[in-house]
Symmetry: D2
Subunit: 349 residues, 4 copies
Amino acid sequence: MSEKKIKVAIVGASGYSGKELLRLLLMHENVDLVCATSRQSAGQKLTEVFPRFRGGKADDLLFVQPDTDSIVASGAECAFLALPHGVAVEYAQDLVEKGLRVIDLSADFRLEDVDVYLEYYDKQHPSPDLMKEAVYGLPEVYADEIKAARLVASPGCYPTSIILPLIPLLKEGLLDTSSIVVASMSGASGAGKKADTSLLFVEINESIRAYGAPKHRHLSEIEQELTHAAGAEVQISFVPHLMPVTAGINSTIFSSLNEGVSGEDVNKVLLGAYQGAAFVRVLGEGVFPDSKNVVGTNFIDIGWVIDARTGRLILFSAEDNLGKGASSQALQSFNLMFDLPENAGLLHF
Amino acid sequence: MSEKKIKVAIVGASGYSGKELLRLLLMHENVDLVCATSRQSAGQKLTEVFPRFRGGKADDLLFVQPDTDSIVASGAECAFLALPHGVAVEYAQDLVEKGLRVIDLSADFRLEDVDVYLEYYDKQHPSPDLMKEAVYGLPEVYADEIKAARLVASPGCYPTSIILPLIPLLKEGLLDTSSIVVASMSGASGAGKKADTSLLFVEINESIRAYGAPKHRHLSEIEQELTHAAGAEVQISFVPHLMPVTAGINSTIFSSLNEGVSGEDVNKVLLGAYQGAAFVRVLGEGVFPDSKNVVGTNFIDIGWVIDARTGRLILFSAEDNLGKGASSQALQSFNLMFDLPENAGLLHF
Amino acid sequence: MSEKKIKVAIVGASGYSGKELLRLLLMHENVDLVCATSRQSAGQKLTEVFPRFRGGKADDLLFVQPDTDSIVASGAECAFLALPHGVAVEYAQDLVEKGLRVIDLSADFRLEDVDVYLEYYDKQHPSPDLMKEAVYGLPEVYADEIKAARLVASPGCYPTSIILPLIPLLKEGLLDTSSIVVASMSGASGAGKKADTSLLFVEINESIRAYGAPKHRHLSEIEQELTHAAGAEVQISFVPHLMPVTAGINSTIFSSLNEGVSGEDVNKVLLGAYQGAAFVRVLGEGVFPDSKNVVGTNFIDIGWVIDARTGRLILFSAEDNLGKGASSQALQSFNLMFDLPENAGLLHF
Amino acid sequence: MSEKKIKVAIVGASGYSGKELLRLLLMHENVDLVCATSRQSAGQKLTEVFPRFRGGKADDLLFVQPDTDSIVASGAECAFLALPHGVAVEYAQDLVEKGLRVIDLSADFRLEDVDVYLEYYDKQHPSPDLMKEAVYGLPEVYADEIKAARLVASPGCYPTSIILPLIPLLKEGLLDTSSIVVASMSGASGAGKKADTSLLFVEINESIRAYGAPKHRHLSEIEQELTHAAGAEVQISFVPHLMPVTAGINSTIFSSLNEGVSGEDVNKVLLGAYQGAAFVRVLGEGVFPDSKNVVGTNFIDIGWVIDARTGRLILFSAEDNLGKGASSQALQSFNLMFDLPENAGLLHF
């Protein structure tokens, strides 16, 4: 492993994706974590807030207030933003102007179309130019753009689990794009670390429930990327479900196959698509991915079956909502941006 | 409550649905449990095998060997069969001939068509005449037939959760029957009490996974009943998922609406359909049922949303896989067969 | 079952023990629930707040504001208080004066000694006379007093699990009272329904941790009752632990046996002590109780082993922290107070 | 990190501690895993049995039959035995004779006294000489012996969690050694990957239960090591409990302080004892360790409180039963044996 060290700041590190990002940055050999901000924990030691990290590089770090001058003063070359939607945009603008490269884990820069943003987020986007410049941080699709980007908008958890299985098939025109419906199941960390009684252990334990349908915000970025892949507008139905697990997302995706498309065609496209992709594990036909095999990693596992009776393809994916669905995927973009091996600091099992 | 007491036997009481049935029978004021069989626990006290039941009517009961002569000798008027598929059929034939009324929780008598049975269960049905006679034990649809039946084939867990929300809509012709896809999520008790390492706590905890697609055995009875309701052949795609909860099933059902059908039509049909049904709780549009609200009960909760962008209806149901999906539903049939109030012994919350 | 109906109010029904109490009262044939208060849910239907209770007697009930005039106006003969510590005392005083009999689930009236109250609750008790009058609601010990009481102070969850196994042995002088140490393990509902991030699913799932040692507030009532039984002051060490289960408490109690006490003596005393007790299930020597066998019930299960090598007795108990540890135990007192069978409305399994 | 590579074999890799060991060995930069045996999975790819490990160094490995000639032929310098008790002894003898250094995760070589072995394991030890030679693999106590050892007997999960907090205090004579009692709580992976219905998800989920008291096999090695530290025989009472978590062990240890010992003495000894220890995190007085902060790591966290009212010290520890309680601790010994940094391959968070 090269001795190269990149100075990195993390802004907003007290939530669940911030914590997972901290975990990964602290273990990454090419990262020098110079700044971690947290409004509520400023002044506290990192290891006080996160006792899990005692006994390593975190021992000497303090949380600081999230002002951009301090971040710049820390010498950071790159800032990860693990902030709520709507808050990230302010930091991103300022930090990019001050010369840092920024990887934003929020939804603030994921969309291309200001009208779609308005429709799904109920307000005008405050930085439409930067929004246009931002690169959607899906390394399997936009590696070249990510390498050169000043601002990467790292994808959402549900979107990653839905887009990656579908893209190769849409590109090859195998699917009836009007027939796609998705049921996704997510662990409770996806709901964030909020003092909300509906997220208490007693409420989520021994409970299964859908929510957010029919128009979850993530639909906007899912359809944007599926439309790019298909070369024509794609609209889908999407239902997320909350599961009593800490982490993990599974998506089960139904689509009718186009006339004349065989199961063999599907297998060929899917097996071929991700041969060189370090973090997409194509399990093959008839294999069902299990979230417990990807939690804590940057992998997404993909399997599928052909439902010959109805002419449908059913795709299955599993990822860690905090991993490939958030923090480790952001780190994968970081590796590309700073010319490190794509899997640097990410080969955990 | 009437003082009437029905003598009841339960055959095969050591699995999870057998245990839930025991629990309900022991609390039912009109039931006199005279016989409980278990091959592996014969000779043992019920409360030794199930310490949960100590301190009540179970205290004096012993498990006996499952031979039909002993069952008849116990004076039982009704026998519940909580046996594996393929085993129940032998007992059912014999007990019916000996004059008992039988409620079978297995899949042995749920189908009407011997060819479909052969296709899904890989063997000729051994009692085709009895199969023809058996009544599908869904009280919301076949109450009259159940009242008169000698043999009730109590529905499966997934089928109940899928059939009940769809039937009223199919009857009224609101749905595009070729467009139905279902993602179901079940607790681990649905897999039975088998000494199988894939069912260990460590394997299921913190895990989400699909299985059994594209041709799960329950498809056969689901499509049989949907076809009856629609008056035309219905084929669906169905994917069950295994969840880290003890009990509970949620089904999320996607279907395109027929041309010209409005959300209002859907609401009217669904709200009207189950007005008099004691155990179907229609939550209404925009309400997502939660499995934890039905576990331990005989209720099924149903909600839905209209996905106007894609012209789809998305239905949500939640039930206890061991309750409305198995044992309490069997007891609901029992109440009908023996002229008891439909909710006798079933109003637990 | 008798046709007798007691009019009952429940004050503060939106927490976890309030909800469990509601569940039990709604199923109790001799209870007519005439009033349920909740400051935060006043005006809402019970079934809106607790969808689990739809389809039964709850359907017609609304939550009302908790003022004592309304409670009196409802005609209630008995009020259950499921309020936070420190709040219950105000209602109790007023309601007792207005002629209702009161069962308080909080800690406000459990202690006898105002100095101990001051020491453990950091303030003067506001109603020392009523505190003196209140009966400690442990039916296995104070049945006669409970029958006649105007105000019952229903015991805490940890105390019940610790006191019941120890009392018979202390009464008979079998234990070295200076040697008692207890490790208890409780489900998360014991921490209440608070909007506190430390109680989120993600924080409690896959986590085991002690808390509250060495001087948990429950120590005060535990030692009060153990001292009564022993006839001499008893001090113990007590450590509660938080477990990733919704409900259930297990206590593991270590004590040295007094000189000359044999295992046989222990067995005789323990097996004899609770022969007539409807809800104490003495499992015997060498049997380990399992919380899942008591959750949802009013039972406490007790087992033990003799550690001959060290001269210690080790007792094990399991109960539902919301059941025998709170709400169903309160209902057991209610049955006594209103001359109903002790197990009325409590024989659920 | 040095480029040094040690060739390593793992014998019996299909259980839970074997799997965790595989995980760690596959990520260890100084390990070249040349052989992995599994009787039941011989001939299968590692990644077929453990899909979690796909996409890394495991991709090219096959499980082989566990015969010692093949292990030797693989060129392995060191063999880890993750075999059942009683099976490991055969392999250890043979492999040591053939010149490999062996780290045994079973209990076969942990005891020094053949009579104690007979008492606790109900048979004569088959290799008493090798038993004598074996070093107890607790690096915090026996680092020098481990460095030179041919055979390391890696400690059990419960013993590690109990011995490490107590040793410094016993060495300094602060505790009344006759007063020690321990309640431990373990995750379900500690029970192994056995096809046993009592270990099914449904049986362990929402369940808390004690087991194995009063004479669990681990007592023998716990008392052996405590006796060494105290310089006089120590006997304790020990109760393990089974918890519904995948991994993690917490131990809560009660002991009377000797006459004249102050809380300050305790703090000084405990804070001082592990200053240089890489994997013992001394949290301090009044801090309760949480198992979720150590799962997946090689850390043990230790906190304590002084119960002044009763003169007791109460110690709390948390570790991963598969980590510091088994596999990562074995790897810590490996690092010492092969002159690698003690934390090589172990700084995961």
